[in-house]
Amino acid sequence: MTTSEIDATSPKHLAGKYAIVGVGETTYTRGGGRTTRAMATTAISNAMADAGLAAEDVDGMLSYSGGDSTPSPFVAGDLGIRLNFYMDVFGGGSSTEALVGIAMGVIEAGMCKTVAIFRSMNGYSQVRIGGTGARSAVPVKGDEIHNRAYGWQSAGQMFAPTFMRHMYDYGTTPEQVAMVKVVHSEHASNNPKAYYKKRYTVDEVLSSRIICKPLHLLDCCVETDNATCIIVTRSERARDLRQRPALIRSVAGRCCKPRSDMHYQSGPISTVAGHYAKDILWPNAGLGPDDVDVTGAYDAFTFTTMLQLEDYGFCKKGEGGIYVSDGTTRLGGKRPNNTSGGHLCEGYTHGINMVIENVRQLRHDVDDSCPIGSDGKRQHTYDYREGGCRQVKDAEVSANLGWANPGTGSAMIMMRG
């Protein structure tokens, strides 16, 4: 190892040293009828059971929310966990990967040994993620006047100028972008957990009603009630646990475009934060886009998946529309994306479900409908027809690309342990 390799801005020495050892979730529902506290305890408990960890083995907790969840100390108390570290942060879709990085940092600092990261949300029945309901009518104050006073408030409204400009700059077509929904719906049809399992066509996407041009209803993610959890610890500790670990090669967290308070002022507005995050992600992983077998590019909207895959370098700048519509991202294609169906179909979790899915992909044990063999392992058929397999054959490396808004994103590269 050279001195430059242990520069704090390029921590290659951490690549592979930490791992995700357990994953868990609740059922993706609407009107689940449970508090965020109850759902969080279920998701964490499921992740602990998955990993083979007892309450005394978990001593750190991280969560994120928009003030619509339950703080870690309450959740930990319900599980009999005594915390050496916790932090509940504000934020949405750029949190998952960023918090994995924070977990690695606090373990590295000796503050705790094992961190459960959770997001619990009643995104349909309490604080609606689409921005409707009580949140839509709050008074407009100070800096918010420059957007909310113009009816520019929900995520779809806020991002629309980026999406439009990409079409203008590069000739990206509605049909190309609709393929993101088509492909993710195919994947969801092979995921018994998915809230929406129906397969959609391009015509069905484009004939669904307009929400905010260029977004149709089916370009937008689903709103659901659910909790999700991943558990991070040192890779060496994973050897004693139940599952093959997903080794963390690198993370980028809440990486920003210039002036992320008002990102439309700078740079080409059809370029997103991944343009900057990629220069942290790939060198620290010691890998590049060509090494990746399966991606989880955040699909709050069809467009967000395309923009991130493009700016992280999975295709040339401006060719995202081609990349998401030529079969590459489909199960059986060169590099499937969001094999669970993601936020567009499986359920909306602010990012964790896409990491959970890739952990299972790297274990070669996604929970599809393939039969379980005598060794207790699923016997994957790699037949991706509706209702069939969704395991990516020989998946070794995954990428997760998290999105807060066009100006802020997070990412993580994992490798099969």
Binding site: G130, G131, T132, S136, A137, P139, V140, K141, G142, D143, I145, H146, N147, R148, A149, Y150, G151, W152, Q153, S154, G156, Q157, A160, P161, T162, M164, R165, M167, Y168, T173, P174, L206, R209, I210, I211, C212, K213, P214, P258, R259, D261, M262, Y264, Q265, S266, G267, P268, I269
Partner: protein, 174 residues
């Protein structure tokens, strides 16, 4: 100094008295004068108001009038309103208009992109036939929507005196 209170389409708008930059900005708008902060160190404007220059970090600035004209840089066209104030007002346009002033500065792809709705010359949200005529490249001029004492919002209307593109770029599926 006191803060600002206003009402726009039934929405309560408030600016705290400590927020001196926004108080000044909307106050100039109420006088029909579009002013932006101009950094004393590098001479660059910025939008929206900030406490320091995002390009130099300097806290020193003057409020200087800027010609409120430009071209649509991008837009969103809302058909499903979220906020109660905009129910029954759809479709409406959210415009980002790039001012002619400081276009391509400080970086090649940077500019002053000022938000606002498409409105009629007298400041009302534009009717559907006007919405369908505006797209990327449309030439716009600013009008002000009064919302309270010393408090008005910048809005955009088609610039009748400018040469308009033959067909401004619009979302293709129309």
């Amino acid at each position: 100094m006191t803060g600002l209170t206003g009402n726009h389409l039934g929405m309560n708008l408030t600016v705290d008295d400590l927020d001196i930059e926004n108080v000044a900005f909307f106050g100039f708008c109420a006088k029909g004068d579009f002013r932006l902060q101009k950094c004393k160190q590098n001479g660059l404007f910025r939008y929206p108001p900030t406490t320091r220059c995002p390009f130099s970090g300097s806290p020193d600035y003057d409020w200087v009038s800027v010609e409120p004209k430009g071209a649509v840089h991008s837009y969103g066209e809302v058909h499903h309103a979220i906020q109660p104030a905009f129910k029954g007002k759809t479709p409406y346009l959210i415009l980002l208009v790039e001012l002619d002033t400081q276009k391509g500065q400080p970086g090649e792809h940077d500019g002053l992109r000022v938000a606002g709705n498409l409105v009629t010359p007298d400041g009302a949200l534009a009717p559907p036939e006007m919405v369908s005529r505006v797209g990327i490249g449309s030439r716009m001029r600013m009008v002000f929507a009064p919302v309270g004492e010393d408090f008005a919002l910048p809005m955009w209307t088609l610039d009748e005196t400018a040469e308009q593109p033959a067909s401004p770029w619009r979302y293709p599926q129309e």
